[in-house]
Symmetry: C2
Subunit: 544 residues, 2 copies
Amino acid sequence: MKIALAQINPIIGDFQHNLEKIKKYITEAKKSSVDLIVFGELVITGYPPADLLERDDFLKDCENTIQLLCKESSDIGIIIGAPSLNLQVEGKDLFNSAIFLFGGKIQHIQHKALLPTYDVFDEYRYFEAAQDFKLIYYKGKKIALTICEDIWNVGNENPMYTHCPLDHYLEESPDFIINISASPFHYAHAIERIQTIQSNVKRYQVPLFYVNLVGAQTDLIFDGGSLAMSAQGKHWIEMPYFKECMEVFSLDQIQSLSHTVDQSKDKFELIHQALIVGIRDFFSKLGLKTANLGLSGGIDSALVAVLAQQALGSENLRVLLLPSQYSSDHSLSDAIQLAQNLHIRFDILPIEPIFNSFEKTLAPVFSGKGPDLTEENLQARIRGTLLMALSNKWGNLLLNTSNKSEAAVGYGTLYGDMAGGLSVIGDLYKTEVYALCHYINRQGEIIPANTIMKAPSAELRENQKDSDSLPDYDLLDSILRLYIEENKSKSEICSLGFDADTVDRVILLVNRNEFKRGQMAPVLRISKKSFGQGRRYPIVAKYK
Amino acid sequence: MKIALAQINPIIGDFQHNLEKIKKYITEAKKSSVDLIVFGELVITGYPPADLLERDDFLKDCENTIQLLCKESSDIGIIIGAPSLNLQVEGKDLFNSAIFLFGGKIQHIQHKALLPTYDVFDEYRYFEAAQDFKLIYYKGKKIALTICEDIWNVGNENPMYTHCPLDHYLEESPDFIINISASPFHYAHAIERIQTIQSNVKRYQVPLFYVNLVGAQTDLIFDGGSLAMSAQGKHWIEMPYFKECMEVFSLDQIQSLSHTVDQSKDKFELIHQALIVGIRDFFSKLGLKTANLGLSGGIDSALVAVLAQQALGSENLRVLLLPSQYSSDHSLSDAIQLAQNLHIRFDILPIEPIFNSFEKTLAPVFSGKGPDLTEENLQARIRGTLLMALSNKWGNLLLNTSNKSEAAVGYGTLYGDMAGGLSVIGDLYKTEVYALCHYINRQGEIIPANTIMKAPSAELRENQKDSDSLPDYDLLDSILRLYIEENKSKSEICSLGFDADTVDRVILLVNRNEFKRGQMAPVLRISKKSFGQGRRYPIVAKYK
């Protein structure tokens, strides 16, 4: 039996586009005499469709698309992911299903049993869990069909769930397992995925074919990396990351697989690719082409500029250099150097005249008050307004350049440097920003060395340094990681040797700045816990 | 048996505060020889605690608080809502529980069976559903204990769920039912709540005691309205809306209740109270006192000013009048009149000099392009920046003045008039803004008549009117309500007699502006479907 795995990049709600893409791969598979072609989870709608699933017209279009696909299945088995109606009155209206088409019609529908409802996932908002488990019988083979999370509770060892869906098939001895997924990327995900698939094949002693989606959907990035693994889990063939493609496997070949085809899982190599896909798809799927951003001469905006240039091309990126009286000479020269390295258009617009004009207008309501943070925020907001004006005038999207450390502690100005339609590096701690810059410069200097080496500064007052307000980034990021990623308490973090006052201060800053993050652009997610829909904390709360 | 219902206003995560408040009512209840005092759902943590529930230290503090409360229960029965640990390895770590304390210890824990996971609710993100149902035996009575949603599937007629929790108690014939809730306000909720409680008592033929929370938690407002209903559902006593208080009932009295104590359910009276509570609690729970906003002379900012003045007091509110060359005379005079009516400080800061300074700075990058929307957005952003500068300098919170119609179609400028820390009227369609203004002026003119009567205009260019860009608000709001609240498709809306092109245009605008709403402040929720966490649509999607 020949099995094709097609990892594709759907557009949420664009049924026509998704259908055409699916048909293209079916046609290609037929040419290779494939018996069964498999696509990812909810490939018909795109993942995650969110509350579009509550619209009857959306579901009707989805059903029509499946009917059109049936016509393609006269001589090939097709497995696709799509929502399907729950025909019982009781329970949620939908299932998250894998649908098997053959002979021109739907032969089998298997629903998802484990519905992830944590972090970025809201599946129980829409879907009822499967109660029935039936094998597919096809061309003499018995196939166990599973959907994403269904294989992540091997032997019921994941405490989040109460049963292990594949165990329901044990008595009937399936010949192989198929899993269709929409599993969002984070930089350690590929390793976890292979380990999980290994645990499954070791338990059931049959090969497993795994298909993921690729491409970005707003903040979520899907890396592909579909794979076929032999029954003992010793060998596997992994498909490329971040690339829409199809590969054909023979079941016999996978059963007796004696070599592994794998690829690099280097953290910053993966993050680099993921962010480029994230930018590229955000623009292309919204029908946008051009971006702009502000270059400060600092490392964050430099990194975003490089990533945007690599994703969109030099001709589609434009930057403003917006110096003030507090900007150092190297800020301007480093930014110019970078713009020249990237072959992007830059303009220099000094902000002092506008700042003075604000000061004059505000004088009557500021009287009696000395300079404070207000004047710093004002400079940031003037820059934000200039960047948005350029964006409006030329139809560019403004890219946000905040990093995760800043976003965590609120070291940024709402409507100022926090402005923008997409946060490119908002899931990278400052120390990771440095590491990614080094990765980008691995074969030669793209980001000026001075940008990487100088002490970070917002340059919003005389001789300001980030370290005036914040702990050193090594220390800050360690505490943030423990607090945000690992949910550690103050006392647990202190017990690891961190200074109690510092930990206290950092936690307070994180908690106090929920309101700022609530107004941030979507953040491209590259870690297990990014700011945005995956981390839901109340704005009004008093817990420390 | 004497039963006290205490509807209180907890602060999320402030265990000390919540404990003191609960103890205060227990002391009061003991003075009235109460046998059983009942508090709302998750009263110990505040509702919704969101991802704080994933923190071990938070849960430990919660447990300690319950232990401290046990000490108060030596001579009174206490029912409180709190998360409790799921001791099984399988399934989510927590239950959403009602805990019965008496004789100095926990006597009984009943978990919630129906976990709302739709709209603003994410309960299955944290909680496992109850499988066991046991009555409380207390002083010769059998009590069926339920939590919020548990009574909203009477006779299993709510298609979202698969069973009706109270049916599990039927054989054991409980003497009465208690329901502890955290049921967020919307303007039709009080009526639905009474109907639902009626359906329950009619089915089970026993009295029901219902306790809600009061007060606002960021965007969600809880209206109290706790009540006791007789076994036939003919009569009930409803506690006040929006007021923290306790009432004592005797079971005999409720069993033979022959009169109803009810209160006005007028839509705009309720909305008016809700918004004032929403503002008041947002400020007091964040430790803030003072607010500012921009008064344009238009109806939206006028309404927000009145609500803020009523919630915070004249001395805690300050407004800026920010006229441009496009502002009409009446804009200024209407705004001044309102400020005088409200006895609030106002300052007039013309924005033209700053605008000119921006134009001059931007000239090199605008060359060859005529005026367009950019210049309109620029004015809005100058105003946003001035208001934020005032806010920063004086420690005020900027109130956002966008209404729901604008937010829906994106008729607003990000970082301009969409700026602010709290959206006060973002869940009121423009037509509802008018109605609420009439309500506010019911006993005399607070909002100048001219502000209400003139044609709405953003005044960002010569002789601009909202109706240049948008359908009349009566028409627009009707379409928006069908599309947003009722999830109707384009063809369904057209079949009701609306013009197809208009419907198309409105739907396109709503879908295209998801990105703007994603960066809005939290919106005080007063309808069944408000923008924010309760409506989750992808930013990158192509569904129309």
